[in-house]
């Protein structure tokens, strides 16, 4: 039977790829839908409130209700709008966000990789730079001032932060010596050192730029600022609004997945080379068991019988799943996908966390951060990385490389901080106003 499967894969490569694409698309849609719920729930818990509680137990069916509502709502096209552009703009956003997932490796086996382009990184940068059109064209086509201004700002923000993000990616490229995302992870595996440890500064730059590129707090002023109503999608309603929403959350998942692949070792277990930490391999069933326990605990306290039994069923299901996962063959098989998702979720959680924590940047401050801090830092990081790699020569020792990179990163950070922070532009303004 196993041989039959292999035969099938060899005979119909396109069909297999199509099946993989459909699976990834479905899973991703689910993740995005529940990401919205998770955001509302996590924010609620951070803010001493409950969040959605009405649809299903703890609002677990809220995404379905939201989706249904948005689907059934009237699709309004404003008067004087450029109809065609107005209609395709959200589609561009969504397509650009989803397409990139074609090259993300979810695990080492070919079953978990849709395609391994040898210019995968370039593909990622290229396609994700297309999402900007959904924003600009959508804002323009609405024939309204708020969306136009919102889209212009948004576009300026995206363009500005793409530069440092790209340069941070080039740093990874230098270290890993490949443009293929699979090879980048494999390089981290063989060197036993995640790129995060070689490129801490690069990771930081990438993370900040990623938050800015997804228009999330604290860089969410194109859409959330009370002054601009909702930014570029003000005039959108119903399903097309849902598409924009989906695009935003998909790109959040996307940048998290990219950060994991580029810096956090993709599907690798943390400290995979340290034998003393092998017990971590048992984390998948254990975490499933924990989920089962928590769900069961809450199920007991749920007053609605239907919800109670549903939760009990969920708990039982995860317990059974934990049992299945605990089988030795399965446990090694699920390792990569488990660690990949775990890391992606950790980063997504961080996205929500920022939103609960940070105030919003002002527009000029946002540009300031991008152009005066991130770009010099990214440039310096690039140069320092190249220098260290040249100095270390081929096949340097792991520790030597780590410490050299650390020192270089620190030096770059200090130099840039001194150069840029030497005199902030606000100081002069204050002196002018206070006369001191």
């Amino acid at each position: 039977m196993f041989n039959d499967a292999v035969q099938f894969v060899e005979n119909y490569p396109l069909l297999v790829a199509a099946i993989k694409i459909v699976i990834v698309f479905l899973v991703l849609s689910g993740v995005v839908a529940y990401m919205v719920l998770a955001e509302r729930k996590v924010l609620a818990f951070m803010q001493a409130r409950l969040g959605p509680m009405r649809v299903g137990p703890w609002g677990l069916f809220q995404p379905a209700a939201d989706g249904l509502k948005l689907l059934l709502k009237e699709d309004i096209i404003p008067a004087g709008a450029d109809k065609f552009v107005f209609l395709i703009a959200p589609v561009i956003s969504v397509v650009a966000a989803f397409t990139v997932f074609a090259v993300i490796p979810y695990g080492p086996s070919s079953a978990l990789i849709i395609t391994d382009l040898n210019v995968g990184l370039l593909f990622v940068v290229a396609v994700s730079s297309l999402g900007i059109y959904g924003i600009i064209l959508g804002g323009w086509a609405s024939n309204s001032h708020y969306p136009l201004l919102g889209s212009l700002r948004s576009a300026a923000q995206l363009v500005s932060y793409e530069i440092p993000a790209g340069m941070a990616i080039v740093g990874v490229l230098l270290v890993s010596n490949s443009l293929s995302l699979v090879k980048i992870v494999e390089a981290q595996q063989s060197s036993g050192l995640w790129n995060f440890f070689l490129q801490p500064l690069g990771f930081l730059i990438f993370l900040i730029a990623a938050v800015a590129e997804t228009n999330r707090n604290p860089f969410d002023l194109p859409e959330a600022e009370s002054e601009l109503t909702a930014g570029f999608h003000t005039e959108y309603s119903g399903f097309r609004f849902a598409l924009y929403f989906m695009a935003e959350y998909t790109s959040m998942v996307l940048v998290s997945a990219l950060a994991v692949v580029l810096f956090w070792g993709g599907w690798l277990r943390p400290f995979a080379s340290v034998a003393a930490l092998d017990f971590l391999n048992y984390l998948p069933p254990v975490s499933l068991l924990m989920i089962a326990g928590v769900v069961f605990f809450f199920a007991r306290r749920n007053p609605v019988p239907a919800e109670k039994w549903f939760l009990v069923a969920v708990a039982a299901g995860s317990a059974v799943l934990a049992g299945v996962v605990a089988v030795p063959v399965v446990i090694t098989a699920v390792q990569p996908i488990f660690w990949f998702t775990a890391k992606v979720f950790a980063l997504l959680y961080a996205f929500i966390w920022y939103r609960a924590t940070f105030p919003r940047y002002r527009y000029d401050q946002l540009m300031n951060v991008g152009w005066r801090w991130l770009i010099p830092l990214a440039l310096g990081n690039l140069i320092a990385t190249a220098c260290v790699l040249w100095w270390a020569g081929p096949n340097p020792g792991r520790l030597k490389l780590f410490f050299a990179m650390l020192a270089a990163n620190l030096a770059v950070a200090i130099v840039v901080a001194l150069l840029v922070g030497w005199r902030s532009p606000t100081a002069a303004a204050v002196e002018k106003q206070t006369g001191s």
């Binding site: 409130r49 009370s226 601009l228 609960a356 940070f358 105030p359 606000t426 006369g435």
Partner: protein, 374 residues
């Protein structure tokens, strides 16, 4: 808030409000913009004008007391306190100490509640969405105490001319003590979210700068004045009730001679701590005794008297000018609302700043339109 539309737009006049989430009510601000920079502004008020001062002339002294609660409706207790004291001053009435300390406790609780509301909305305006939920959680505790005391949460009408209508309920002291113990830790919690937050600093520091001399020239009072480094507090300068018998400090901003939005933020936070200090002392000194002074059922002050009485409301100096004509109705009541006076400095603070800062500056003045328009 629409912004620059086209390249050739050199100077642009835009309206912010009266329906705008960040103008804290129905304030309308006309902004003259050069690009995104504010070159001039004009606050247009009156959308909430209800003629409260005029109403006073057709009400007896007691009847008018609930109306003042509707001015600064997020700090009704202090409003009522100011009015009651003004009339008491007109009558020359003495208030028993238990009533005085009760008034002080409730007024300081009200100050905390008002500052909490300010903190939450100010942070929300600047994009930090979490503090508002925390501050409302604590404000709820205060409102619960009010509700237990007088049955109302917002427009309390807690005091009567001459003292108190209700004595404190059982367990009041315990609740207030519990609250003040709990609350200091909560302030630290807010501070953890904001005080050293890099983005918060960038959004508030050097924004809305007000020089001390300008502040004095504009008759700005309250935390806005103290934020500019002027140590002026009516509770210290002209003590009323028993404020001269308790110890507290008057916090001022970080700078000598000027202050920014961040200074005012720090001042208000410090004030909340001082309020807790006052509350603790006042609770210690609560003794049993009468709660109503020697004031008759019918208040009929002699004709031709006129008093001005000011208290330190959460927003600044809240003054009442009450003129009597020998009847049971006041001849004239004139209110000096701190929000209204402080708002005049808005143009000074907003000039030269970016349009996004306007939101921060409106927030930092801490206006309540009910009080501005009356």
């Amino acid at each position: 808030m629409p912004e620059v539309t086209y390249l050739d737009a050199d100077e642009l006049v835009i309206n912010m409000g009266p329906q705008h989430p960040a103008t804290h009510g129905v304030l309308r601000v006309k902004l003259k913009l050069d690009g995104e920079r504010v070159t001039g502004s004009e606050c247009i008020i009156g959308y909430l004008h209800r003629g409260i001062e005029k109403i006073a002339e057709n009400r007896t002294y007691q009847q008018f007391a609930p109306y003042v609660d509707r001015m600064d409706y997020v700090a009704a207790v202090t409003n009522g306190m100011g009015y009651c004291e003004a009339v008491e001053k007109l009558l020359g009435a003495e208030i028993p100490p238990r009533a005085q300390y009760t008034r002080m406790i409730l007024a300081e609780l009200q100050r905390i509640a008002s500052h909490l509301l300010w903190l939450g909305t100010h942070a929300l305006d600047l994009g930090a969405m979490t503090p508002v939920f925390y501050t409302f959680r604590e404000r709820e505790e205060i409102l619960r105490i009010f509700e237990n005391y007088c049955g109302a949460r917002l427009t309390t009408h807690a005091f009567r001319i001459g003292g108190l209508l209700y004595d404190l309920y059982d367990g009041f002291e315990k609740e207030v003590r519990k609250f003040s113990d709990m609350f200091l830790g909560k302030i630290d919690e807010y501070e953890q979210l904001l005080t050293k937050n890099r983005i918060w600093l960038e959004r508030t520091q050097n924004v809305g700068i007000l020089k001390a001399e300008d502040a004095i020239a504009y008759a700005v009072t309250g935390p806005v004045l103290r934020g500019s480094g002027v140590k002026w507090d009516v509770r210290k300068a002209q003590p009323y009730e028993a404020y001269d018998k308790v110890e507290f400090d008057v916090p001022v901003g970080r700078h000598e001679g000027w202050g920014d939005t961040y200074d005012r933020y720090l001042v208000r936070l410090a004030e909340m701590r001082q309020s807790v200090r006052i509350i603790r002392q006042a609770v210690e000194r609560l003794e049993s005794g009468p709660i109503f002074g020697k004031v008759g059922k019918i208040i009929k002050p002699p004709a031709g008297f006129e008093v001005y009485h000011a208290i330190e409301s959460p927003k600044g100096e809240l003054g009442y000018l009450v003129v009597s004509d020998g009847t049971t109705h006041p001849y004239r009541v004139r209110v000096r609302p701190p929000s209204f006076v402080n708002l005049q400095a808005f143009d000074l603070m907003a000039r030269g700043h970016l349009i996004a800062d306007v939101v921060a500056i409106i927030g930092t003045i801490d206006i309540v339109l009910g009080e501005v328009d009356r």
